[in-house]
């Protein structure tokens, strides 16, 4: 009797969990479905839930018209800014952890830079970039995303570097390695997992950023997020393009979740939970 009761409870729990997962997945499924529907299916009434075929013409249109370059622009800006933010942020974190540079106040000042709503500094940044003539260039967006992500990287890497035992560094120093060599050959290899997890999130933030991309791009270096919103016209909405372009932006993220699930908790909680 009791056993039967237990099995019944497990079944109920599983049913609720699966239902919740379906609720969270469905909008993404719907987006993916729109991207491969034929035009007739997109504008069918009542809506078609399962596409009849695999119509990739929306994607072909994006590549033929050159809109797909936006994905490349996103990739370059997010990729390069991730590398730079990781480099500068990690060095800063190491300085803070090992030498207590600036005490607690400096670390708090750095993280507070991330709390300011982007819109507040958007216009001054825009003016600055106009005077430097880097609006609508890779340089501008990369510089901005690097600055935007340095506080996050510093904060996260501070947590990871604190966990590395000091004795290892000391013995390496005694062995005659220079401070730079200790950092590159001892510390960073040991923080590999942390570096990797932090880089993944730094990339996601830059990849998904919209407000600055909207302000600082025009026609040359337009990222995919700006492109997607551009398809919502005042006269007509380009459903198939929205679907296809969004999917090009979403697919890498699905890959990230699929392969790096175990890093994710700590990354999104800014280290609040040791994952």
């Amino acid at each position: 009797m009791k056993r039967w009761d237990k099995g019944w409870r497990l079944a109920l729990r599983t049913a609720i969990a699966v239902f919740a997962a379906v609720l969270f997945l469905f909008p993404i499924y719907w987006l993916a479905a729109i991207s491969i529907k034929s035009p007739d299916e997109i504008f069918a009434y009542p809506p078609v839930w399962v596409p009849g075929g695999f119509d990739i013409s929306s994607y072909i249109t994006l590549f033929r018209d050159g809109d797909a370059w936006a994905v490349w622009h996103s990739l370059v800006t997010a990729g390069v800014s991730t590398v730079l933010a990781m480099l500068f942020g990690t060095l800063a974190a190491y300085s803070i952890v090992r030498y207590r540079t600036g005490g607690d106040n400096l670390a708090i000042w750095i993280i507070s830079q991330r709390m300011i709503p982007p819109i507040c500094i958007a216009f001054p940044v825009f003016l600055l970039f106009v005077s430097w003539q880097i609006v609508d260039t890779y340089t501008g967006l990369i510089l901005l995303y690097t600055a935007f992500n340095i506080p996050y990287v510093t904060w996260m890497m501070r947590g990871y570097l604190q966990e590395i035992p000091l004795e290892l560094e000391q013995s390496a120093l005694v062995d005659g390695l220079s401070r730079w060599a200790v950092l590159w050959k001892v510390v960073l290899p040991m923080a590999r997992a942390g570096l990797f997890a932090t880089a993944v999130f730094t990339f996601i933030f830059a990849w998904n950023e919209f407000l600055f991309a909207l302000i600082l791009t025009g026609s040359e270096v337009v990222t995919y997020t700006v492109k997607v919103t551009g398809y919502f016209g005042s006269q007509s909405t380009f459903w198939s393009k929205i679907g296809a372009m969004s999917m090009l932006g979403v697919l890498p993220m699905i890959f990230v979740v699929g392969t790096m699930q175990r890093f994710i908790v700590r990354g999104i909680s800014m280290g609040a939970v040791k994952g």
């Binding site: 497990l10 599983t14 699966v18 919740a20 997962a21 997945l25 909008p27 987006l31 729109i34 997109i42 009434y45 809506p47 060095l91 800063a92 190491y94 300085s95 090992r98 030498y99 207590r100 400096l106 750095i110 830079q113 300011i116 709503p117 982007p118 819109i119 507040c120 500094i121 958007a122 216009f123 001054p124 600055a147 340095i150 506080p151 510093t154 000391q170 120093l173 990849w207 998904n208 919209f210 407000l211 997020t225 919103t229 919502f232 459903w239 929205i242 679907g243 969004s246 932006g249 979403v250 993220m253 979740v257 699930q261 994710i264 908790v265 999104i268 909680s269 609040a272 939970v273 994952g275």
Partner: protein
């Protein structure tokens, strides 16, 4: 701390090294963080707009205007109300989901992976997706409601003044409940099992167990999660931009949307600088108060 320096030569070396490491980060942050901030303050005391370009000191005219600007205070109210409604919903739903997933479940890894997908998707894409989902004619939401209502339903989710906020709320809760879920799941798995068992043996009620054991254990993590989400909601822009652009009228205008419109659509440069300064000021006060309360509570 590194080993104690033996000779002063090494100490100098170390000093140079530690500042060298941190210099690039500080330089970039000052450039993109501090310079705009100073510029903001300067511009807010000048008078620059589409029609004026007065660079001399103008006193507090823009700050006085803040107090009379009904649209501004409405947008702040929208932002605050939305945060106060969305955040508890996400917290409670996330907690319930976490409780569910704390127990034994088949395919747990896969289900968790599916649920956390919304977090890594661009808010702009989430907004677009929900706009398509909520489309009055070609979206599945009205269709499903129609099944229950028994007839065609044509709800104008992104246009009808009564429905726009619920529509944005749905998108927001969909995207960020997984965030609360994930963090609370991790926090709950760290709760001391022995304490829970001891409480059960002593016959403590569920509510008492929650208040005396679970809540204190997850409170620090929960606080950070709420803080991160509150800061995000305070700057809410992307989802609204794709779903309504602040409309109809100014019905769904948040402070970020309003500040954007003022700076980049109406070119009220000096006034928008005053708005930005107000926002930073309010935010700093709120965050400092929140942090202090937590420290007092500890």
């Amino acid at each position: 701390m590194a080993q104690a320096p033996v000779r002063s030569g090494i100490a100098d070396n170390e000093l140079a090294f530690k500042y060298l490491l941190i210099a690039p980060a500080i330089f970039i942050l000052l450039l993109i963080g501090l310079y705009p901030f100073v510029k903001l303050i300067v511009v807010s005391f000048q008078n620059i707009s589409m029609f004026d370009d007065i660079r001399s000191f103008q006193g507090f005219i823009h700050y006085e205007r803040l107090f009379e600007d009904v649209r501004l205070w409405e947008s702040l109210l929208h932002t605050a109300l939305f945060t106060l409604v969305a955040l508890p919903i996400e917290l409670v739903l996330g907690y319930l989901l976490a409780l569910l997933f704390l127990q034994k479940l088949p395919f747990k890894q896969i289900l968790v992976a599916v649920i956390l997908l919304p977090i890594v998707i661009a808010p702009i894409v989430a907004g677009s997706t929900w706009r398509l989902m909520l489309d009055q004619r070609f979206g599945p939401i009205n269709q499903v409601i129609g099944w229950f209502a028994g007839g065609d339903v044509k709800l104008l989710w992104t246009v009808d003044p009564l429905l726009v906020w619920p529509a944005i709320m749905i998108a927001e809760v969909w995207q960020w409940t997984p965030f609360m879920f994930l963090i609370l799941l991790a926090a709950l798995s760290n709760v001391d099992q022995e304490q829970l068992e001891a409480a059960e043996m002593d016959g403590a009620s569920r509510w008492m167990t929650f208040r005396k054991i679970i809540l204190p254990a997850i409170a620090p993590v929960m606080f950070i999660a709420v803080l991160i989400r509150a800061l995000d909601l305070f700057r809410l822009f992307d989802v609204i931009w794709t779903m309504t652009q602040g409309g109809p009228g100014t019905r769904t205008e948040t402070i970020s949307i309003y500040a954007y419109q003022m700076a980049f659509r109406e070119f009220e440069i000096s006034y928008s600088a005053a708005i930005a300064f107000l926002v930073i000021f309010v935010l700093t006060v709120v965050v400092v108060l929140a942090l202090r309360r937590v420290e007092v509570a500890r």
